[in-house]
Symmetry: C2
Subunit: 271 residues, 2 copies
């Protein structure tokens, strides 16, 4: 398997931590964030790091596409353009290889299979930048929005935020993965319905182990409490992990090829 | 006493909640945040709400100057200008009244005595917008920076962030209140030194009461812990409250008059 996941969100929302927690290993060191002085005149960069993971004896090649600088400037106009450009370039490269006279027996797939879009837990509803980016990105790739650092919310605040976000997703008509699909079996359709009611997943990430009730678990410990990242009554990290790396891994890759790539390809071939 | 405090920071950092917690009463309902659609073409607004508070039988008139829209747009260039304009206008109005032939026996003081600047707990260091704003604001008013929603940080993360922020404050040479002052007595000087080592205060705000160990306290309760806003081993809310409303209330008002207003006035009178 080749799985390419792009992480998008302002600096500090726990993106590198979550990626490491998801793949249970230090895949990506948190990219040294630019200091304010260096950040002047910068825009969103694209940084790809490649990793190999063994999951149940299956070798998984993972490309993590980081987007440092996104949303971090004073002026964030068009900070999404480098992302859109990168996504389309991968489709374009794939198409070129498909069309070459001697088609390679195996084309390396660098297309973005999933965009993890990090939403701040502080907002009451999507802000301007989120609306524009979710619109543009969900048109060309599978977008999976998550509520970052959801341990800063009480469970009531979390369900209120989720409700507002879900209403906005439908109000703005974003095409949020997983997509409706007539070809699903009933149990697959049911799983998708359950997942849709949870999205955006309220996640917490941690690279540290802490002790809760004598057990060593991945979590965050403060003087006033301790959160276990893998406890589904505390956060939805486990649901996201199973969704991305087990139940929907294959579908994310196939949907990218059969829906997003197809749409790109047909536009190119008509033109 | 007339005390005018401006709160500055992106939406969702808990500004209205903190103001209510500080003054132990629902002074300001959280201003309905604009939805993303309405926010287009907007800039920072200035909203003043007036309140009367009784503290130890002393009547305190408080103006809370809210700044909705600050830092919330896709393009935040010059989002600080309405703030700077407002601060200077109050000096200008005060000067006009001082200079009028029939000087009123008592001039209503609308000058900004204190700016509570909210820093996100997610950043590793000041971002571009913070650097520009802290520079411009600390030149014309008493700026008291705080780390918002510090319950999202472990105590280690908090001390690391504080260290980075304090280093940045001195690297960029911001004039952070309280200022050095040769006229202080030794115990006052010591208090200022202690406070300077704490700033920016790591705060948590709450309008709710929760029960911890059978006691009803102001705090936040989640499934994995409960934080007591007034417990100094958990957050620095009490230090901020005593600083603003007890130990330094008078000095904030006097420094505004003797330092910032004086500086404005002398520039005007030379010109
Ligand atoms: N409260 C909280 N802090 C987190 C969480 N995940 C990561 N952090 C902390 O947030 C800081 C920034 O995390 P990082 O992964 O570098 O963020 P990035 O800039 O988005 O890559 C680090 O101090 C992390 O320990 C979380 O789920 N909750
Ligand atoms: N985790 C955490 N949440 C807070 C804190 N203070 C306020 N909140 C919550 O953050 C949300 C926004 O608060 P609000 O005061 O309206 O923010 P404002 O937009 O800056 O005025 C509300 O749901 C508050 O309950 C805090 O110290 N910690």
């Amino acid at each position: 398997f080749q799985f390419n996941v792009m992480v998008v969100g302002r600096s500090g929302l726990g993106k590198s931590t979550l990626v490491n927690t998801l793949f249970s290993s230090n895949l990506t060191r948190s990219n040294g964030r630019h200091s304010a002085a260096e950040a002047i005149e910068k825009t969103t960069e694209i940084k790809v790091s490649s990793h190999v993971l063994m999951e149940n004896n299956v070798k998984l090649n993972i490309n993590v596409i980081d987007t440092p600088g996104f949303g971090d400037q004073i002026n964030n106009e068009k900070c999404w353009e480098p992302l859109v450009k990168y996504i389309k370039e991968q489709h374009s490269q794939y198409l070129r290889k498909e069309l070459t006279a001697q088609r390679e027996r195996f084309i390396v797939d660098t297309r973005v299979h999933c965009i993890l879009y990090f939403i701040s837990p502080h907002i009451k509803d999507l802000n301007e930048l989120d609306v524009v980016c979710l619109k543009k990105l969900s048109e060309i790739a599978n977008v999976v929005p998550v509520i970052a650092k959801s341990d800063s919310l009480t469970l009531d605040e979390r369900s209120e935020l989720k409700k507002n976000l879900q209403n906005s997703f439908s109000k703005y008509n974003f095409n949020i993965y997983p997509y409706d699909n007539d070809e699903l079996y009933d149990d697959e359709r049911q799983l998708n319905e359950d997942i849709k009611s949870l999205i955006p997943f309220a996640i917490v990430g941690s690279e540290k182990e802490i002790v809760i009730n004598g057990e060593s678990v991945r979590g965050r410990k403060t003087r006033w409490g301790a959160i276990n990242v893998e406890d589904v009554s505390q956060c939805e990290f486990v649901f996201l992990r199973d969704f991305l790396t087990r139940t929907h891994l294959q579908d994310l890759i196939e949907t990218t090829s059969l829906v997003h790539y197809e749409s790109f390809r047909s536009k190119q071939l008509i033109a």
